[in-house]
């Protein structure tokens, strides 16, 4: 299972992305990396000019509580006009609750400079404002003090397998599915 990122950043090229997972206290990753950096991808030559990473991520969580369901935080970076590595967007999305294949398109955004002058200088210097921690985009706190500008989209496809959710009283499967009792060896929720 892989995570093809299909970002739509119209003006940028040669982007790479960093991802990390944000989860609650009752969650713990069992396998896989919770943080990582993808390869650099270039624009497609076709009309769409999509940037495709097709970067696979494999992670398994276990949890005792649905609260704090993991979110994937994606931050995209790329060189600017002068070759400085600048951030091109932050975005976060919850890992789908229901087992199966999902496709999520995350709108990305970047923090805005506090003033026009800042904007110019940051452009000149090549240091755009960045979040001190990309995980803030997955949190509710502190949003009131920042201004962001939206910028592109990233598409992530998830393949989710859950285990023993039903047993513990959580019915996450879609209603039309015939109650697939997934018997897996690992105790937890898989997110491929």
């Amino acid at each position: 299972p892989c995570l093809p990122f299909l970002p739509k950043f119209p003006a940028f090229d040669d982007l790479y992305c960093k991802y990390c997972f944000v989860y609650g206290h009752d969650w713990a990753p069992t396998t896989g990396l919770e943080e990582g950096i993808s390869q650099i991808t270039s624009k497609n030559r076709d009309a769409q000019q999509a940037l495709v990473w097709n970067f696979p991520i494999d992670i398994t969580f276990k949890s005792t509580n649905p609260s704090g369901w993991p979110q994937i935080v994606v931050s995209v970076y790329g060189p600017d006009l002068f070759g400085n590595d600048v951030v091109r967007g932050y975005g976060a999305v919850h890992v789908p609750f229901t087992p199966g294949s999902h496709r999520r398109t995350i709108p990305m955004f970047v923090p805005e400079s506090t003033s026009k002058l800042q904007k110019i200088t940051s452009w000149l210097i090549g240091r755009h404002p960045e979040f001190t921690d990309p995980k803030v985009v997955a949190q509710g706190e502190g949003r009131e003090v920042i201004t962001v500008r939206s910028q592109g989209f990233v598409t992530i496809s998830f393949n989710v397998v859950t285990k023993d959710m039903k047993k513990l009283g959580y019915d996450v499967s879609p209603s039309d599915m015939q109650n697939p009792s997934v018997v897996s060896l690992t105790d937890g929720i898989h997110n491929h």
């Binding site: 009752d26 005792t64 923090p111 200088t121």
Partner: protein, 1582 residues
């Protein structure tokens, strides 16, 4: 072709004229080209046709002289034509008709042509020079035109023919006359319009040949018509012919012209008179002008001219009346106007009382009420732009809307206004008045007769009497029945009442009849008097003969019965009165008696007493003697009854009179009436009436205007169908009267009730609604007017005044739709009456929105409106109301914010409380310390052990319970608890503050480089890449968010140390005896010397040496440097220690509260030769390494955390006694300056400590605290701070601090002289220096506890000195403040140096900020900036400190107890630390040490070393002792243990090592305790 077209155009114009004439249309010449084109086409065809008849009529031979010929042959043409056109219609004309037609047509023509002339002229001008006179052609054109027209309309064509014939005849006439009169016209070549005009306007008198012409032409036309079809080929011929005609005309004209010209010339000469130019001299002109012209002066008009004579101007404004603001007119203009006005007649009228021109107040508003609208070019603001919207039917905007959901829901109200009757009208004649009265009375009579109350009551009376009679009969025969008796009396009572009623009714009937007759008589007399009749009213009195005898009999019987009844009544009354009389008489008699006895008494007692008299007078008036009632006389009664009967009843035998009113009378015709009456009648005729129907005060329709008929009835008979949307609020009729053509006069208004919903069209009854008007109308004819008194009498007495009044008969009903459904608003079906309907239409409207929540109100409303519970529309409401009225759901008296919350609660509160898991989650969410970062809350209830909560619960439980176990001292435990509480509250406060974010917390943003920065960075480019002396660079800071264990390291860079104590050279002195005796002297020796005690060279080599190394222990992780040599070692080593945050929580808060300390211990590495045998020395080295603790430096982690780095030289905390070590002796070897320095005291170590990666220390709390300080002072403080910060940004400047209650306090308030403990002062009564030292020591003994540790969050809390002493813990501020206060109390000058001074705040504005370099002379303003200055004098702030500190007495016993306990604990600990070895305690040594300790305390650890050593040596002969005393202020046991552990005494792993440990606790006042721990290890030397 050009000629053609032009010609045609003209023709067309003319033609058009004619046409328009015919059609009576106002279209005129030269309309437009298109029309002309059309006409052109038609005319061409016409012309072709036209040629034919002409040819026929005149014949080819006579063509050139057509005109003349025609005229000449006028007489004979008719028969010829008649012969030629046998089929033609008979000639219509009759004399009168022609004349009439001629007249009217001439008139019209004249008008038309006048208008047309100008147009035609202009058209002709365009046409250019055209040689042909057009009149003939145009005439022909006319002919042809009419002919053509005739095809379509016969009737019209007849007129046309007449007209045309006349025209033709006139043209002919004109032509003949032209030669004589109109020469000029012909000459001009433009005859058409003008000529035509003259032609038509001139009156030529009767023309006998007209008719003939007409007929002829008509015939011509007739023939034309017939032969139309075959004409087309001849068009060319006709054209040629035409041309020849034209030529002919021309010739004629030319002949005529000559004559005309001649005449005109002659005229001109005759009339011309030459005169000199008229000239008037300038002065003369001026004179004249002065007469005519007037130049108003601009001087102010004197007041006297403006106000009426002999009057003072009156200023209304001064009198308090409102005058308004006059429009602004410039003074000069005003003056001019005034002057001008005054010249006029009655000019003064223009001036008001105040002598000013009358003026209305200025109507111009001060500000514009309309937003400025800019023109399109400038670009309108988008929101101001006018948009076109298609007109829409207004949606029903108000609440009166009926059934808005149904677009078809139009409801219809049918209003039928059938007519109007005036009961009085100004135009009423007297007779009318009477007639109206009569009619009214008659109506009344009819109504009464219908009711027939009299008859009813009479019957009732009879029945009652019969009943009484029968019951009496019964009672007479049988035993008296009380029930019957009762009923009889009741009957009688009812009979009386009924009789009375009947009498009243009878009387009314009688009077009514009488009045009717009277009025009728009056009317008759009036008719006789005025000798004409106005009304058709006639009253017949029908007599109904009655049977005299029976009537009399009945009458008599009636009277008798009544008499009897009355008598009976009177009897009863009499009896009653008699009864009363008797009682009264009795009373009177008794009174009389009493009076008599009194009188007797009076007589007896000659001497009169005043008292009695008074009594007597009090007794009251003498009661009147009652009069006995009279018995009713039968005769009297009978008379009475009879009289009444005569009055109110028909006489017996008299015939019954039945009045009948009929309208059969004849009204006198106008010519027989007097003038006034005729006028009246005409006036009435002029008047007409109409009604307006107003729905919701808006006029919706009005009736036709109808004349008032002579009987003042107006019939309308109109039905208005009102389609309504809105609720019928009101339905009103307005009656208007119009007089002649003008003046519409509102007579009266009346309201019609909106019908009940059951009233449907077809079933509605016609109702009469009365109206009246209070208008006063006076008329000058026979009409009596309205509101004007008039009289029927000849003498004018008995005046009556009548108002215009009348009745409108109408009916209002709801219409029925096509399918039989009544078009009634739905809701109104449940309603009665309009107001309620209005109210009930909508719940919201009727009870208001607030009412909707009020169930009671809603229910009440529902009950009132009688909502249909079965109506699905009301289902919701009914349900709601049902619930409300049942009382199941009580309406809460509060407003619920989240009323659905309960539904979303997935578990009840009890469940939540019961469940351990939920509890755990909740606690974690609340960030309770124990659970703040608890991970992986178990999934199932059973997996959560009770143990989890134990700590927490215990803490909760023991919050108030003081546990002395940990603290060994009750007081300290108390303090600890208190501190804990304060800490908790403060932490809670900061936890909330933590969730406030700043932009900088979240976003990393490069600062805008200032010019200086830019320059600096440019400068940096020039820096060498690898400088010889590299400086530390700022590193990137990391927020403690994404950190985990192992991420953070503590970097400790040990650079060098100075003056490390060295092994005592005393050993060398002892060398000799040791050698000989193999004695125990090694025990004090530094290790290397022992390698070979026999080799003195070795000793000499070794003796200067100390092998120090540094061991850094942090969080029980230990790291050490390599061993260096000498007392001034240089390590320059970097040690890395991992840092673990408590609970793995790397948040700022938890990092701030890390209490761990970094211990930097300096050890001496001592090598012992363990070789037992000297012989083996050559082959092997057996040494044991021992380390001896020399000293330590403790640095709290918090300090590192907040400072981010620690860089500097620190004094090593070396115990006062270090057995076997000394310093001063080895100084000789050192270089000069070193020795000088080290002479001072202590050893130093240079360190650099930092955290990797750099953590961002918590931000200062941004919250502003409450304060009780003066606002002004605070502002000044802020300003002061800002100023200082500007100058020296790196220096701290404090003006206000936060006290322990979280309030901002001005810093100087802390400074106040406070008495130090008396005991301390007593110790050195004379030596103030010593006392000061003691005091300082005392202060230093109070444990140090940084604020940031106790209060996580960087808020610097300052506690007052007493609080400080109570807590027995505090940070540098508290210590400093206390010490400062003590010194002040001791009369010393003291300052608190934080960058501020005492008692004022001073800011160091010197160049340097390190303490030693500061010049403390505050009097130099150059160096110290004062906070309080002249501008802000010291306000004498009261101190927050207590007046006096109270010290508890020293509790020696407690100290002793504590001492024992500490010792025990420490011993246990040491044993615990050495699990693999047996720990032996050398009791002897311990007791020795215990003796040392009080001395140490006494001398404060100074220079007692030698004594100890000697003593020990003396006492413990064969032991190698290494040990030292540790001194600490006491706060808790734990730090003591830590300290002992850090020395590493326990690490000795020699099997036979023994230990000695002694503790001494010295108590100072206020429970300040100084703890001494003497610890030593002993190794038995063989």
């Amino acid at each position: 072709m050009a000629v053609w077209s032009v010609k045609v155009l003209i023709v067309a114009n003319m033609n058009f004229n004619e046409e328009s004439q015919m059609m009576a249309m106002e279209e005129l010449l030269g309309e437009d080209q298109a029309q002309a084109e059309k006409l052109k086409r038609t005319l061409r065809a016409q012309r072709r046709r036209r040629k034919q008849p002409l040819l026929e009529a005149v014949g080819p031979a006579v063509l050139p002289a057509e005109e003349e010929a025609e005229k000449d042959r006028a007489g004979m043409a008719a028969p010829a034509a008649a012969a030629r056109a046998p089929r033609s219609l008979p000639p219509v004309p009759s004399t009168s008709r022609t004349s009439f037609a001629e007249f009217s047509i001439r008139e019209r023509m004249r008008e038309k042509l006048k208008a047309a002339r100008s147009k035609a002229e202009s058209a002709l001008l365009q046409e250019g020079p055209s040689p042909r006179p057009r009149h003939l052609k145009s005439l022909r054109q006319r002919e042809s035109e009419t002919r053509w027209d005739k095809e379509s309309d016969e009737d019209e064509s007849r007129h046309m023919q007449e007209d045309e014939s006349q025209m033709s005849s006139r043209v002919k006439f004109c032509d003949s006359v032209k030669k004589l009169k109109q020469k000029s016209h012909v000459q001009t070549d433009f005859p058409s319009a003008e000529e035509a005009y003259n032609f038509f306007t001139f009156n030529f008198g009767p023309e006998p040949d007209n008719i003939k012409d007409e007929t002829k032409s008509k015939k011509k036309s007739e023939s034309n018509q017939e032969e139309e079809e075959g004409e087309e080929q001849e068009s060319i011929v006709s054209h040629q012919q035409e041309q020849t005609e034209d030529e002919m005309d021309e010739e004629d004209c030319l002949v005529n012209d000559r004559e005309d010209l001649f005449i005109i010339d002659q005229m001109a000469r005759d009339f011309l008179v030459v005169k000199p130019a008229d000239y008037r001299s300038y002065s003369e002109r001026l004179q004249k002008e002065r007469e005519i012209l007037f130049t108003p002066s601009i001087l102010t008009v004197p007041m006297s001219q403006k106000v009426p004579e002999n009057m003072q101007p009156r200023y209304l404004e001064d009198e308090g009346l409102y005058t308004g603001e006059r429009p602004i007119v410039s003074l000069s203009n005003q003056n001019i106007l005034e002057n001008r006005i005054l010249r006029q007649e009655q000019g003064k009228r223009w001036f008001g009382d105040d002598g000013k021109l009358l003026a209305l107040p200025s109507p111009i508003k001060q500000s514009s009420t309309r937003p400025p609208i800019f023109s399109l070019e400038e670009g309108i603001e988008p929101e101001l732009e006018t948009l076109y919207r298609k007109a829409m039917k207004p949606m029903h905007a108000n609440q009166y809307i009926v059934g808005s959901r149904d677009p078809q829901g139009q409801f219809q109200l049918d209003i039928d206004i059938s007519g109007l009757i005036f009961t009085h009208h100004p135009c009423f004649s007297r007779e009318h008045v009477l007639a109206a009265k009569l009619a009214q009375l008659y109506d009344q009579y009819l109504a009464r007769r219908q009711q027939n109350l009299t008859k009813l009551l009479t019957d009732k009376l009879h029945a009652l009497r019969n009943a009484v009679q029968s019951s009496l009969d019964n009672s007479g025969t049988n035993v008296p029945n009380p029930v019957a008796q009762q009923s009889v009396t009741e009957y009688k009572f009812v009979i009386r009442q009924t009789r009375r009623l009947r009498d009243a009714e009878q009387e009314k009937d009688r009077t009514l009849l009488k009045t009717i007759i009277k009025v009728w008589k009056e009317m008759k007399s009036l008719r006789d008097f005025q000798k004409f009749t106005n009304t058709p009213m006639k009253l017949y009195l029908r007599k109904e003969e009655v049977d005299q005898r029976s009537d009399k009999k009945i009458h008599e019987a009636e009277i008798q019965a009544e008499i009897n009844e009355l008598l009976e009544e009177y009897m009863e009354e009499y009896e009653k009165k008699m009864e009363e009389y008797k009682t009264e008489l009795q009373e009177w008699k008794s009174w009389k008696k009493a009076q008599k006895t009194k009188k007797k008494k009076k007589i007896k007692q000659s001497q009169d007493q005043e008292e009695e008299e008074a009594e007597e007078s009090e007794y009251g008036e003498e009661p009147v003697k009652p009069i006995p009632p009279k018995l009713a006389n039968r005769l009297e009664v009978e008379q009475q009854v009879r009289e009444k009967a005569v009055n109110i009843r028909r006489k017996p035998g008299e015939s019954v009179l039945i009045p009948e009113l009929s309208l059969t009378g004849s009204v006198t015709p106008n010519d027989l009436c007097p003038r006034a009456e005729v006028l009246r009648r005409e006036d009435v005729k002029k008047r007409s009436v109409f009604l307006k129907v107003l729905f919701n005060t808006k006029e919706v329709s009005r009736t036709v205007t109808r004349q008032i008929s002579s009987d003042f009835r107006v019939h309308f008979g109109q039905i208005f169908n009102l389609k309504i949307f809105n609720w019928p609020e009101s339905l009103k009729l307005q009656i208007y009267e119009t007089m002649g053509l003008s003046s519409t006069n509102l007579l009266a208004e009346m309201f019609i009730p909106v019908p009940e919903t059951t009233v449907l069209t077809g079933r509605a009854r016609t109702e009469e609604i009365e109206f009246s008007s209070n208008q006063r109308v006076m008329l000058d004819h026979e009409g009596v007017g309205s509101g004007v008194p008039f009289s029927f009498e000849a003498d004018g007495s008995n005046k009556i005044t009548l108002m215009t009044s009348g009745k409108v008969s109408n009916s209002v009903s709801w219409a029925i739709g096509e399918n039989g459904v009544p078009l009634i608003p739905l809701v109104s079906q449940q309603k009665t009456g309009i107001p309620s309907a209005l109210k009930n239409i909508d719940a919201v409207a009727s009870i208001g929105t607030s009412g909707l929540t009020d169930m009671k109100k809603l229910a009440k409303w529902a009950a009132e409106t009688k909502l249909d519970p079965n109506d699905p529309k009301n289902a919701d409401l009914m349900q709601l109301i049902m619930v409300a009225t049942n009382g199941d759901a009580c309406v809460p008296g509060f407003f619920r914010l989240e009323q659905l919350q309960q539904e979303f609660n997935f578990a009840s509160d009890e469940e939540l409380n019961r469940s351990k898991r939920f509890r755990l989650l909740q606690l974690r969410h609340r960030e309770v310390a124990e659970f703040r970062n608890y991970r992986q809350v178990p999934l199932l209830e059973r997996e959560i052990t009770e143990k989890l909560f134990e700590n927490y619960e215990k803490r909760l439980r023991e919050r108030d319970v003081i546990d002395s176990k940990d603290h060994l001292d009750a007081h300290r435990a108390l303090v600890a608890k208190y501190l804990q509480k304060v800490r908790e509250s403060v932490i809670n406060r900061f936890l909330t503050a933590k969730h406030h974010f700043l932009l900088s917390d979240l976003v990393n943003e490069e600062e805008v480089p200032s010019l200086g920065n830019l320059g600096l960075s440019l400068f940096k480019l020039a820096e060498p890449k690898r400088p010889l002396k590299p400086r530390r660079k700022e590193r990137k800071k990391i927020t403690a968010q994404n950190l985990s264990d192992g991420d953070i390291n503590l970097l400790v860079n040990i650079i060098r140390a100075y003056d490390i104590p060295v092994r005592k050279p005393i050993l060398s002195k002892l060398q000799q005896p040791s050698r000989s005796s193999r004695s125990f002297n090694e025990m004090f020796a530094a290790s290397p010397s022992l390698q070979s005690p026999t080799h003195s060279i070795d000793w000499a080599f070794n003796q200067a040496l100390v092998h120090p190394f540094v061991e850094v222990s942090f969080q029980r992780t230990v790291c050490r440097t390599t061993t260096a040599e000498g007392p001034n070692p240089n390590w320059n080593e970097e040690l890395e220690l991992p840092f673990r945050a408590p609970n793995g929580d790397y948040s700022t808060t938890s990092l701030q509260s890390v209490k761990d300390e970094v211990f930097i211990n300096i050890f001496d590495e001592v090598l012992y030769d363990v070789l037992e045998d000297d012989r083996e020395r050559g082959s092997g080295i057996h040494t044991r390494v021992e380390r001896h603790w020399l000293g330590c430096v403790r640095i709290p982690f918090s300090t590192i955390y907040f400072q981010t780095r620690i860089d500097g030289t620190f004094k090593i905390d070396i115990p006062p006694v270090l057995l076997g070590y000394g310093k001063e002796k080895n100084l000789g070897n050192e270089r000069g300056y070193d020795s000088v320095r080290s002479l001072s005291e202590g050893s130093y170590i240079t360190l650099f400590i930092t955290i990797e990666p750099q953590l961002i220390p918590g931000d200062p709390v941004r919250e502003k605290f409450d304060t009780q300080e003066d606002e002004k002072l605070l502002q000044a403080a802020e300003k002061y701070q800002a100023e200082c910060a500007l100058k020296f940004p790196s220096r701290q400047c404090l003006t206000t601090v936060v006290d322990i209650n979280g309030k901002t306090v001005f810093i100087t308030r802390y400074i106040k002289p406070l008495n130090p403990p008396q005991e301390l002062l007593n110790g050195h009564p004379n030596n103030s220096q010593a006392a000061a030292e003691l005091v300082a020591r005392y202060v230093a003994l109070i444990p140090f506890l940084p604020d940031s540790v106790s209060f996580a969050g960087i808020c610097d809390l300052w506690s007052t000195s007493d609080q400080f002493l109570d807590l027995l813990a505090g940070d540098e501020e508290e210590h400093a403040v206390l010490l400062c206060n003590y010194f002040l109390a001791m009369g010393k000058k003291a300052w608190l140096i934080i960058g501020n001074a005492i008692p004022e705040i001073w800011f160091n504005i010197q160049q340097y900020d390190s303490p030693v370099r500061i010049n403390f002379d505050i009097s130099k303003p150059k160096l110290w900036k004062s906070f309080f200055s002249q501008s802000l004098p010291y306000p004498g702030l009261s101190s927050v400190q207590p007046e006096e500190l109270i010290y508890q007495r020293i509790d020696k016993a407690a100290a002793l107890e504590l001492q024992g306990r500490i010792e025990k604990i420490l011993k246990e600990k040491i044993m615990e630390w050495r699990p693999r070895h047996l720990t032996r305690w050398n009791r002897y040594c311990t007791s020795t040490l215990r003796h040392f300790l009080p001395l140490l305390e006494q001398f404060q650890g100074k220079a007692v070393e030698d004594d100890h050593q000697a003593e020990l040596q003396k006492q413990l002969g064969d032991y190698r002792v290494s040990g030292f005393p540790i001194h600490m202020p006491f706060s808790e046991v734990k730090p003591l243990i830590e300290a002992v552990h850090s020395t590493g005494v326990h690490t000795i792993d020699i099997s036979n090592a023994e230990f000695a440990l002694a503790v001494y606790v010295h108590a100072y006042p206020k429970n300040v305790l100084s703890v001494w721990i003497y610890i030593a290890s002993l190794v038995r030397s063989r």
